[in-house]
Symmetry: C2
Subunit: 412 residues, 2 copies
């Protein structure tokens, strides 16, 4: 008899009717002979409503008090969830983070889980109860309430599954992880399995199914995650260790991210220390730089481009303008209309020609590449934003729909 | 430098604007050189909204889960209150019941406070913080959340004041305790002081200013309570030990209660054990009986009347009908249109003619008395409901406005 941690997101518990629907998914799990631990987010809209109240008091509300306030959202949801399970004849007990306890560090509004007490959960399971645990929240050693940051309920679920040696089901409003965004690519198909590393790259590159930290946590503790819809019965996508995946395709999925801006410093003297000066100034302003490209120099000068989040673009431009004057650069050019299109797949490690094929597909569609960055299992190209959807569709067709052309060596 | 516990009810924190208004009352207290501990109820409407949600799931929601749910109301209010104090430049820290801790027994939805930990509160006060404590809630020794029942925030405030050796201010939507309901008696005046015993009688008899249990608690631990309006600056009413009250008038206040029904069992055989049989049956059905009147017997028969809450009247009538058949009574008559009018005052203990004067005032106004009950410091008469307001006004005029006629012996 296995233990399954079942996590329901805000839309899955967005009304009493939806909570009842979610509770029935729990009963199904019990009927299949498993034991269940529920993790619930706040009801959709509740957290936003609480944040709005706090923002009306102060632009920057005290973070410790913010955690006190936000923690009420999940507490409300779990008590209603437990009442609903009881109404359906299933003994259930709701638990706040501090009652489990889920112990975190003391970084309010973005705390990290340090340890989880499992004795109370084990006792409840043995007595036949379904524990219904508040996601997103924890408690410090000093009995202060903390929250784990947006999407933190995923982390709660994965951490509980790790602590209890359980599988983890993430119920959400999509049916799984897709090879590309189905709204952009009608031929996108749902993946049966994906590795932690591939999921991490996809999540980092804009796929919104799972919070990045929860996938990191799952990878570290080898927790098997089943991402599925709370509104449909069909199987979703399993996020699993790499060795569970038989078919290592070169490209597992394709993403596009239009939330970055490109900043180019034109005609920079090509001397040691110039890049350091530039990026140190940005780092001190807490601006995260993503892609960085430096061309070869001509007559002692070079151009340097990088991308930052659009939210930080204006601030970054001001900082770079200041540094550019100091280092004698010609000018600074900012472009907000760029898109980063990426292909991700474990098989890339041992396949040939993947990068070349990506560049060829883009070129054949008349799309110019402004910058390139790679990791072991992904290739990203920066392109003009207006070609974003075209690029994703063309790459999907070439790599996923006609993917057989790429050779993947068997690693075993 | 004294410590003042300041309790704000639901209407006093019913919006962010009202919370700010309440927070300013706290700043005033600090400016006068005191330290303050805030106790807050849930924002007006929040608790009712949560109850409604639970009732939509089940007519009788699990009480342990009900406490989990309801406790979120105060937690939300205290975090917003602490944020507001901080915005106004006052360091503040909100605390849930379990964080204080306020330890209770495990009777969910109507728990009783067993002990209060004061170390964390003392530390916060010494570090210059205003603790903002959630009213109405506590925690068991097993770390389960409990609530104290309706009006429980008053009890939290009084208990904290007792534990900290502090005075207690109850901020509410009236300016104090009046000699009678000002909506009925335009000449009613606000009392400067009232004793615990008088307040208890008034609260039991229908005055809604303070919850009865909180007054009992205050009497037990000699906590001085100042009941006042959160919307007006004027002094309210002090509820204090009897020995602090110089002027022991015969009648401190007059109340009326129209929430009872009278049930009469006609022509009961006047034998030992009949009354016991009747009231045992009612007791087993958890029905609280208030006034009981038995007339002298005629030819071996008597009539027996008693009052119960209107909510219980139908159930009581059914039970009594059954017993009446068993004991051979003639019939059972129920009257919902009755009112209990009462006069309350410490001085009654040592004054003469108070009862006689009350009966005379009612008689002079053509009001028939259906039943009488007395305690050491109160006299209640059951009358026809249609005379309720007339009776209160006439008694107020006779005892309060022209009160000098009653002699009060000095007890000291």
């Amino acid at each position: 008899m296995g233990i399954v941690v079942q996590k329901f997101g805000g839309t899955s518990v967005g009304s009493l009717e939806r909570i009842e629907n979610a509770a029935k998914r729990v009963l199904d799990t019990l009927k299949r002979g498993n034991r269940a631990i529920v993790v619930s987010s706040a009801m959709a809209g509740d957290t936003d409503g609480l944040i709005e109240l706090a923002k009306r008091i102060s632009e920057f509300p005290n973070e410790r008090e913010m955690d006190m306030l936000l923690a009420t959202g999940e507490q409300k949801a779990i008590s209603l969830f437990a009442m609903t399970l009881r109404k359906l004849g299933c003994p259930a007990v709701s638990l706040c983070g501090w009652q489990v306890p889920i112990v975190t560090d003391d970084v309010h509004t973005k705390a990290r889980i340090m340890k989880i007490g499992t004795q109370r959960l084990r006792n409840l399971l043995e007595e036949g109860y379904v524990p219904v645990v508040a996601g997103f929240q924890g408690v410090t050693d000093d009995w202060e309430i903390t929250t784990l940051g947006r999407g933190g309920s995923d982390t709660t679920a994965v951490a509980l599954a790790a602590a209890m040696g359980a599988d983890c089901e993430i119920y959400t409003d999509v049916t799984g992880v897709f090879t590309a965004d189905p709204r952009v690519v009608p031929n996108a198909r749902k993946l049966e399995k994906i590795s932690y590393e591939e999921m991490l790259e996809l999540a980092s590159l804009g796929a919104k199914v799972m919070q990045i930290r929860s996938v990191e946590f799952a990878a570290k503790y080898k927790v098997r995650i089943h991402v599925r819809s709370s509104f449909e019965e069909e199987e979703g996508t399993w996020i699993v260790p790499e060795d569970e995946i038989m078919e290592k395709v070169a490209v597992r999925g394709i993403t596009v991210d239009t939330k970055e801006s490109r900043i180019t410093v034109v005609r920079v003297p090509d001397q040691p220390g110039i890049a350091a000066k530039l990026f140190k100034a940005l780092g001190e302003a807490h601006i995260v730089v993503d892609m960085i490209v430096q061309n070869i120099s001509h007559e002692g000068y070079t151009d340097m481009s990088f991308t930052v989040s659009k939210n930080d673009a204006q601030k970054a431009e001001e900082i770079v303008n200041k540094v550019a004057r100091e280092i004698g650069a010609k000018e600074v050019v900012r472009d907000d209309r760029v898109a980063k299109v990426s292909i991700v797949g474990l098989g890339m490690r041992s396949s040939y020609g993947t990068a070349a094929k990506m560049f060829e597909v883009l070129s054949n569609n008349g799309i110019n590449i402004m910058a390139i960055s790679t990791s072991e299992i992904k290739i990203s190209c920066l392109i003009d934003e207006k070609y974003a959807e075209l690029a994703v569709r063309a790459l999907h067709e070439a790599f996923i729909e006609d993917g057989e052309e790429i050779k993947v060596e068997n690693e075993s």
